[in-house]
Symmetry: C2
Subunit: 243 residues, 2 copies
């Protein structure tokens, strides 16, 4: 059940053309919110789960992290990540998040950006992350918001003239897979309620420190079509937790 769409050449090409792929963190609407929730990384051992092109890995090093390990299931994503930096303190490993098995207290900070909605069994992944963190270690994660994942269609409700009337929610309490369309490809995302997301983290031993349902950075509101609609419903949920 481990999904690896990013090694599909067509999907990879389309993903590579997204603003966040060509322009990096500054083109990701949720980045200011995520950045504000990251801990001081000076001298820290950082793990990035679902690192993709490695933008957060390089950022962690810029902020003084001593070592960074980026994991991703996609060789193609990691190939690009490796090409973007020759920093010897950053290493990349091709591994599904479901297969992590680190030693106790191997990391001070664990980051995961927009990857967990692809994971079927988060409980075990969270337990592994908790095990791999030092006491007091930080876990900052983001994923697609339950309001966004509830319906497979993951789209607005439109009026007769094609205008966006509102965001439709349905099947919210029915957790499980949703076959969604992302970049003209069918991808399976796992819908969980807000309560389940928080309870899984708490159950794994984490303390919830802060939540964010990020709004786009003001400078992006008029830069991209439809960005102002992001104020009408949350697309992502970011959580800062501590061991």
């Amino acid at each position: 059940m481990k999904q690896n769409k990013y090694d599909d050449p067509q999907f990879f090409d389309k993903y590579s053309q997204m603003p966040r792929s060509t322009g990096g963190l500054k083109e990701a609407g949720e980045w200011p919110a995520l950045r504000a929730m990251l801990p001081d990384m000076r001298g820290k051992r950082v793990l990035d789960l679902g690192c993709g092109f490695g933008w957060h890995c390089r950022y962690a090093r810029e902020q003084g992290a001593s070592t960074v390990l980026g994991l991703d299931i996609s060789e193609k994503m990691l190939e690009r990540a490796r090409a973007l930096s020759d920093d010897p303190a950053i290493s990349y490993r091709c591994l599904a998040m479901e297969d992590i098995d680190f030693a106790a207290e191997e990391f001070d900070v664990v980051i995961s950006s927009l990857a967990f909605h692809y994971i079927q069994d988060l409980e075990e992944v969270y337990r592994q992350i908790h095990h791999s963190l030092v006491p007091g270690g930080a876990f900052i994660l983001s994923f697609e918001h339950p309001i966004f994942t509830a319906r497979s269609a993951q789209d607005w409700h439109y009026g007769a003239a094609g205008e966006r009337l509102h965001w439709p929610v349905d099947d919210y309490q029915s957790e499980g897979p949703r076959v969604a369309n992302f970049l003209e490809t069918e991808v399976v995302k796992y819908h969980r309620t807000v309560a389940t997301h928080l309870n899984l983290l708490i159950g794994a031993g984490f303390t919830i420190k802060e939540l964010s349902e990020p709004q786009p950075a003001i400078e992006l509101l008029d830069k991209y079509d439809g960005m102002r609609d992001e104020l009408r419903r949350p697309m992502f949920l970011i959580i800062s937790a501590v061991k």
Copy 2:
């Protein structure tokens, strides 16, 4: 800005006819979830904020609470609550939640059921509650879900035949008052995002223990019209927090 619709005779009459008013806790769809999140109350000093007819106050005493104080802004609600029990260990006081000012560590457990969405400044109320609880004390609260309060209309999106197509979300990031219609009366509810709700509690010093977006009890699904639609979007959010 303290709202007291429940002393309005017409509103009070209509509220008095709701299943949860005539039948009590067993007729409240969210009650099984709320009950499961309540702590052991034996020998505990319990405060119920927005106690209404006092159902939770009486339940706390049945579970062995030593004393229960129920607060409500409505004299009419408290009049009925007093008529429903002469238990000397339960006392009722007519006071707006915004005006609480208890001594430090006066309570072991604080409950509030479906009242906080009427409060404009929750931050100060949460601080007061934290102050009034003993260390380790439990705070269990429920309120209307942000998915439910985002739009003032608080209603389904209907098809041509009057069928419920989905639950519309809009204006989610715009926090503040919503003039909603409840029991044919205009009431002001305050919409806050999920993140704000959690961050306010954490900011006041609480640790989040568990969340619930309750589904109706199975035995109620076919008892009331439309109850099965409650599975399509969450109406309430229940939080268990600890000082």
